[in-house]
Amino acid sequence: MPQRARSLIAFAPMTCTHGFSWRGALLVTAAIALAGCATVKPSQREALSKPEMTPASDGLEDEFYGHIESARQGSFGGHGVGAGGGGGCGCG
């Protein structure tokens, strides 16, 4: 059996028996990160620089939703991810 298929089978029980798999999440994250290692040149970022593509442009709205959710939900987090101190991808 090819090595890749074996590793997929070894990985499968974790995702089936549990609702959330940390190994799965890490694998997906690593795959996305590695796939995107190619640099997007500044001249190619016109579409990325638009406000609707900039996470920081939702900052005030997400701050309010975060405030509501902290008062009404048992959970937190998510809002403002990527915008905290970083200002998005710096595409502007």
Binding site: T29, V40, G85
Partner: protein
């Protein structure tokens, strides 16, 4: 009132931390000369939240000034929270003589400083918030760096919250410190730390990762961890517990959230698709999933519309009982002693919700081309409306906000 040594020391430490962070920023900016972009901005806004028993009106104003450019940006904000018939009202209505509508005001002021120098971003803030029965101070530091010609941005943030919690006793503002349901009111102090103190300490860590995966695709990933120690139950909810015992939650909570989203644009159609998902887990036994989809459409050169749908589901905490039957036991509520816990808090029950919403953004750059209206350049008006269909005791909620922002 004479401040105790403990309180003075804690307050001094928090202020020293904030001052040190601000000084580091100023020195950092001064040591890195260069000319970069500058923009000052003032933003006025109002948030509105309405459900069956609660209404929140929240006006605010914010201003940021580049001094002299993005190497050092200083900001300030003021926010007023007017909460009518809040969740605490069932208790405070008795304490205040049975008013039909109890309105509470919370004032919040924030000071910020940030600096962008080449590939680095630094930021710090100090926040002070006060209301009748809750005083909160917070400060934090954030650092971020761009990599691969700004294709990747990694950010790291830490902030600390130092809160003091009280219980209102009557309608002239008399209050007692609240140390949680396990501590008798006469044994609770408004100073120091520990189980007999009304101090709630919050440590919060955030890691953010943003990646331009393609010229049309942006990936965003974040992790957040918070450690809370102190009273986390509500002093007024004992009236909602069948056996009328004080609400008693664990004093310690470890919270963890992970979130990821993608923004993908279709330039020809002027559309952006933004799927989003967050997962949350804590040591109270609550797990939450929140998938969301946002679709942005640029319907005109300076006009954007956005539709949003969010599904939210959470499980109940280990000490939550669907029948609401709790027994009055002495001692702290912990995993090992769930029989000492009691709750009437919707936030720790199992429930789900659906939230559709719409947004309209009008950018003023088109108007700014007309004679005499050049000052509108960079300004915008943003309107949001969301309707939350909540399957819990709170019922459905209407959420709206308006933002008017000008650059100068």
């Amino acid at each position: 009132m004479r401040l105790s040594r403990h309180r003075r020391r804690a307050r001094r430490s928090l202020l020293s931390l904030t001052r040190l962070a601000a000084l580091v920023l100023v020195a950092w900016a001064a040591l890195h000369p260069g000319t970069t972009a500058a923009e000052n901005r003032v933003t006025l806004g109002g948030n509105y939240y309405r459900e069956r028993s609660t209404r929140v009106i929240q006006p605010y104003v914010r201003a940021t000034v580049d001094a002299p450019d993005e190497r050092l940006t200083l900001g300030t904000a003021y926010l007023l929270d007017a909460i009518s018939s809040a969740s605490i009202a069932s208790g405070t209505m008795q304490a205040t003589g049975g008013d039909n509508v109890f309105t509470e005001f919370r004032h919040e002021v924030v000071a910020t400083a940030s600096s962008r120098l080449g590939e680095w971003n630094l930021g710090t803030f100090f926040r002070y918030s006060t209301e009748t029965d809750w005083i909160s101070r917070g400060t934090g530091l954030a650092v971020a760096r761009d990599f691969l010609q700004r294709t990747i941005n990694v950010s790291l943030a830490y902030n600390i919250g130092v809160d003091r919690i009280y219980r209102i006793r009557n309608n002239i503002g008399d209050r007692l410190p609240w140390c949680g349901g396990a501590i008798a009111p006469q044994d609770c102090r408004a100073k120091g730390s520990g189980t007999h103190s009304n101090l709630l300490l919050i440590h919060n860590f955030e890691l953010g990762y943003t990646h331009a995966l393609h010229r049309y695709v942006l990936g965003i990933f974040g992790v957040q961890y918070a450690h809370l120690v102190g009273p986390q139950d509500n002093p007024y909810r004992e009236n909602l517990i069948i056996s009328a015992i004080p609400e008693t939650h664990p004093r310690v909570r470890n919270r963890f959230a992970i979130a990821g989203s993608v923004r993908a644009t279709v330039p020809q159609a002027h559309l952006v698709f933004e799927p989003y998902y967050s997962f949350y887990v804590d040591d109270w036994g609550i797990e939450a999933h929140a998938p969301e989809l946002r679709i942005h459409a640029r319907v005109h050169r300076h006009l954007r519309l956005r539709a949003r749908y969010r599904y939210y589901h959470q499980s109940g905490a280990f000490f939550w009982k669907a029948d609401g039957m709790y027994i009055d036991n002495d001692g702290q509520c912990t995993r090992d002693h769930p029989e000492r816990c009691a709750t009437a808090d919707v936030k720790v029950t199992a429930w789900d919700s659906h939230t559709p919403g719409v947004q309209l953004v009008w950018e003023f750059d088109g108007l700014a081309r007309h004679p005499g209206l050049g000052w509108l350049e960079g300004g915008y008006l943003e309107l949001n409306y969301n309707h939350a269909i909540q399957h819990n005791r709170f019922g459905n909620a209407r959420i709206a906000n308006a933002t008017l922002s000008f650059a100068f």
